[in-house]
């Protein structure tokens, strides 16, 4: 039964390769997207840290995006 499952009655190469290519491509795109997102979050948080305290407070107060990225970065480190 396991032998049949693996060979797919002679079509194993085509079936497994199709699923493998799909899963591999999806994994690579996910990994690249995730890494880029984390890099931008980190860079943005660092940029916020570089601001003077007064400016930073003002930015965090005005921008929801900035405050959320900053909060998650602080939680992460």
């Amino acid at each position: 039964m396991i032998q049949n499952f693996l060979t797919m009655n002679g079509y194993g190469f085509y079936v497994w390769l199709s699923f493998a290519v799909t899963i591999l491509s999806c994994s690579i795109l996910y990994y690249k997207t995730y890494k880029t997102l984390k890099k931008y979050e980190k860079d943005f948080a660092k940029e916020l840290i570089r601001l003077s305290e007064l400016d930073r407070e003002l930015v965090l107060k005005k921008s929801k995006v900035a405050s959320q990225v900053f909060a998650s970065y602080n939680k992460f480190i």
């Binding site: 085509y14 699923f19 799909t22 997102l37 930015v59």
Partner: protein, 235 residues
């Protein structure tokens, strides 16, 4: 209505949706793969090679739907000049390209055991290659043209011109004699596919849709942060 796509307003919501998808994704993936690879029956003619359909067909659907969405967003962007729409289009494009290429590759892998050839310049396959070229042009226009307004305009034109290819892909199997079979699933309820194969197909489609939503949201979030970072002094 367009206020709903205001980046600042939906940023928190995006985070929530990403977490939700992450929590259910692997469960649905395992169920879908179990149905696709184990529980669904082999085809009476094609045998087990029919299982390639469970990745090939959803990939093709997503490739087509993504480009249609990009083109419709481009038309809206031309009319209403909303930059956020272009951000969404830019986020969809790499996904659409990947799934179009996957449809072509898995189609080729399906073609060898069923048609006896890896490749044929068949109307359906050729029009899918044309679709991939339109995706590449759209992505390159955004990457290579430095003036953002010009890049937006040119990529919008590429998307709108490329929209003409979508009905060609859809109806190519009816208009010309092709190796590719006509569609087995029709929205009018006259589908010729058995429910034991339709269920795994829909489950795999759901998994890939969730995956697309995840990538799209992550890319959109990246774009929002990139813009906020660029304009940090103006906040």
């Amino acid at each position: 209505m367009f206020d709903l796509i205001n980046p600042s307003k939906i940023f928190y919501l995006i985070e929530k949706i990403i977490n939700f998808i992450n929590s259910i994704f692997f469960i649905i993936l395992i169920i879908a793969l179990t149905f696709a690879l184990i529980l669904s029956p082999p085809d009476y003619l094609q045998g087990d090679s029919v299982r390639i359909m469970y990745v090939h067909v959803p990939s093709a659907w997503i490739g087509l739907a993504s480009f249609t969405s990009i083109a419709l967003l481009s038309i809206l962007n031309f009319i209403f000049k909303i930059k956020n729409l272009h951000l969404i289009s830019k986020s969809i494009a790499p996904l659409g390209l990947m799934f179009t290429c996957l449809a072509i590759i898995t189609g080729s892998l399906w073609g060898q055991p069923t048609w006896g050839t890896w490749w044929a310049w068949d109307a359906r396959i050729t029009s899918m290659v044309v679709l991939a070229i339109f995706y590449i042009l759209f992505i390159l226009a955004n990457k290579l043209i430095e003036q953002k307004d010009k890049a937006n305009k040119i990529s919008n034109i590429i998307a709108i011109v490329g929209l003409a290819n979508i009905p060609i892909i859809k109806f190519s199997v009816d208009w010309w004699n092709t190796l590719h079979q006509p569609s087995s699933i029709k929205l009018d309820g006259t589908s010729s596919i058995h429910s034991s194969m339709l269920l795994p197909l829909m489950l795999m489609f759901l998994v890939l849709l969730l995956y697309c939503a995840l990538i799209l949201l992550m890319k959109y979030k990246t774009e929002i942060i990139r813009i906020k970072k660029k304009n940090i002094k103006r906040i």
